[in-house]
């Protein structure tokens, strides 16, 4: 992997070559590269996979989805689908699959920082409603508000007219 990367995307600073020669060389090497990457067929395959996966996210909405009363299952499933799609895009469209080992140096720390960043938000932001002032609680929407609105819709004075 490492060797392949260094040759195909390697430094192009070569002494004793004119710009045209460099260009020619780069065309040739990229051409060889292209064969190594598997060409357009692979991109088409990735594209179809991405479309299929997007449709799969909608599967959680269908009556055939067995966990309709447990949204957490659907959310996990959709995130798994999204991660798969993201991996496909990163690996094939962004050519990371064929890159040398530097890819780990840039992507893994960034991904870990991203994860920590999100986790660090949990105590202050995610748990912000565990302890709130009375005034804030008074104006805060709760699940009960939605229930009242639904009740108004089905049992209110206009219910007969509305339905």
């Amino acid at each position: 992997m490492s060797d392949h990367g260094t040759h195909s995307h390697g430094p192009v600073t070569r002494s004793g070559e004119s710009a045209d020669e460099t260009l020619q060389h780069s065309i040739e090497s990229e051409h060889g590269d292209h064969h190594a990457h598997g060409g357009l067929g692979k991109y088409l395959l990735v594209f179809l996979a991405l479309c299929g996966l997007t449709t799969m996210s909608f599967f959680t909405y269908s009556p055939a989805w067995p966990w309709r009363d447990q949204p957490q299952v659907g959310w996990t499933f959709m995130m798994a689908v999204s991660c798969t799609k993201a991996m496909l895009v990163i690996l094939f469209f962004m050519h990371v699959w064929w890159e040398a080992n530097w890819k780990y140096v840039l992507t893994i720390p960034a991904a870990m920082m991203a994860l920590f960043l999100a986790i660090m938000l949990i105590p202050d932001v995610g748990m912000r409603n565990r302890m709130v002032s009375q005034e804030r609680a008074l104006h805060m929407a709760r699940g009960a508000d939605l229930k009242v609105l639904e009740k108004a819709s089905t049992e209110g004075p206009f219910a007969v007219q509305a339905h």
């Binding site: 065309i27 292209h34 991109y43 699940g143 108004a152």
Partner: protein, 346 residues
């Protein structure tokens, strides 16, 4: 890597012809730290900062959402999943076209690369257009990230009731210039610019043939709602009734209708613009506009670069540039891949 390292040794600074002749392959004079071009290295460094930028936004969204006591369902805020899915499809297609532009440029087929590039530009513009349409649908329902444009109230309480009253008072003193065409009077033409019109009274007086059947029902409802909000003896439930009439929230089971089944007073008369109740709606609007807005800015920047590139000859000399903007574009696609389920399907 090792091959490069070996080539750096004193005395190799000049004259490589001998080496080439000897080993039959090119020896490098200069060893950059990483086996990739500078432009690509910078692009990847930039993308790694972008990963953290969007991770912060997406992370905040997830944490805010699951820390909130209540969060609106997609249909409560007039989100349409098919439109979101269509936009996902558009972005995936544009990712493919940009990859094909790169491949064409690698093969030195400049005109083919130009076609793919133009197609990418077109798809990106389509994405922004659809996004703009979605935004305008939100705005027309009074969903804005902040006051004074936002008409979202969190609960159907007395504060909501007083906001409805305030809006009704405002409508009773509508400047002549702002009277909707359906309620315009021939006498309005002679009115002075400072004059005001009682729109509610005018609606009550409007002949039935100028209103549709829906609007006639809505007119009766509006009269009843005015009675409720003006009443001295208000119950908490009354405000919920008002909110449900102004803009009903589609019920749990009704999520197959695309959110168009429910029709409120604000839909019957666009000029009413009464305050609405969406529990959790304000936080939703803030996160929605922030996340999709930043994503849209990224799309717009990409389109700008694609537009510039469309004026170039996209031959093999431009492979590096196309690859770099391609990386950026795929990243923008990547962000949407997460935004779509988080925003539209959760």
């Amino acid at each position: 890597m090792h091959a490069h390292a070996a080539s750096i040794s004193p005395g190799h600074d000049d004259g490589h012809a001998g080496d080439d002749g000897h080993h039959g392959h090119v020896t490098l004079q200069y060893q950059p730290g990483l086996p990739l071009s500078r432009g690509k290295l910078i692009m990847w460094l930039f993308l790694s900062t972008e990963i953290m930028f969007f991770a912060a936004l997406l992370g905040s969204y997830v944490v805010l959402r699951f820390g909130a006591p209540i969060w609106p369902k997609p249909h409560h805020v007039h989100l349409s999943e098919p439109i979101g899915a269509f936009n996902t499809f558009v972005l995936i297609c544009s990712s493919v076209t940009v990859v094909l532009a790169l491949e064409a440029a690698r093969a030195n087929k400049a005109s083919l690369a130009k076609i793919w590039m133009l197609l990418t530009l077109l798809l990106g513009t389509l994405f922004l257009g659809v996004k703009g349409y979605e935004y305008s649908a939100k705005f027309s329902h009074g969903i804005y990230p902040a006051m004074p444009h936002s008409r979202i109230y969190e609960r159907p309480d007395l504060y909501y009731g007083s906001a409805v009253r305030a809006r009704l008072d405002e409508l009773r003193k509508t400047p002549v210039g702002q009277v909707p065409s359906a309620l315009r009077d021939p006498a309005d033409a002679e009115a002075k610019s400072g004059d005001t019109v009682d729109l509610l009274q005018r609606l009550d007086a409007a002949p039935a043939d100028r209103l549709s059947a829906d609007q006639q029902t809505a007119r009766t409802r509006l009269q009843q709602i005015q009675k409720i909000v003006m009443s001295a003896d208000q119950q908490a439930f009354d405000m919920a009734v008002v909110a449900d009439q102004v803009m009903p929230l589609p019920a749990e089971g009704a999520d197959h209708g695309g959110g168009h089944g429910a029709h409120g007073l604000n839909d019957a008369f666009r000029w009413l613009r009464l305050p609405t109740v969406i529990p959790g709606g304000n936080m939703w609007a803030s996160t929605y506009f922030l996340l999709t807005g930043f994503h849209a800015i990224h799309v717009a920047v990409g389109l700008l670069v694609f537009g510039i590139m469309c004026t170039w000859t996209l031959n093999a000399k431009r492979v590096g540039a196309i690859e770099n903007i391609g990386l950026y574009w795929h990243f923008v696609d990547l962000v949407w891949i997460f935004l779509f389920p988080l925003m539209y399907l959760f």
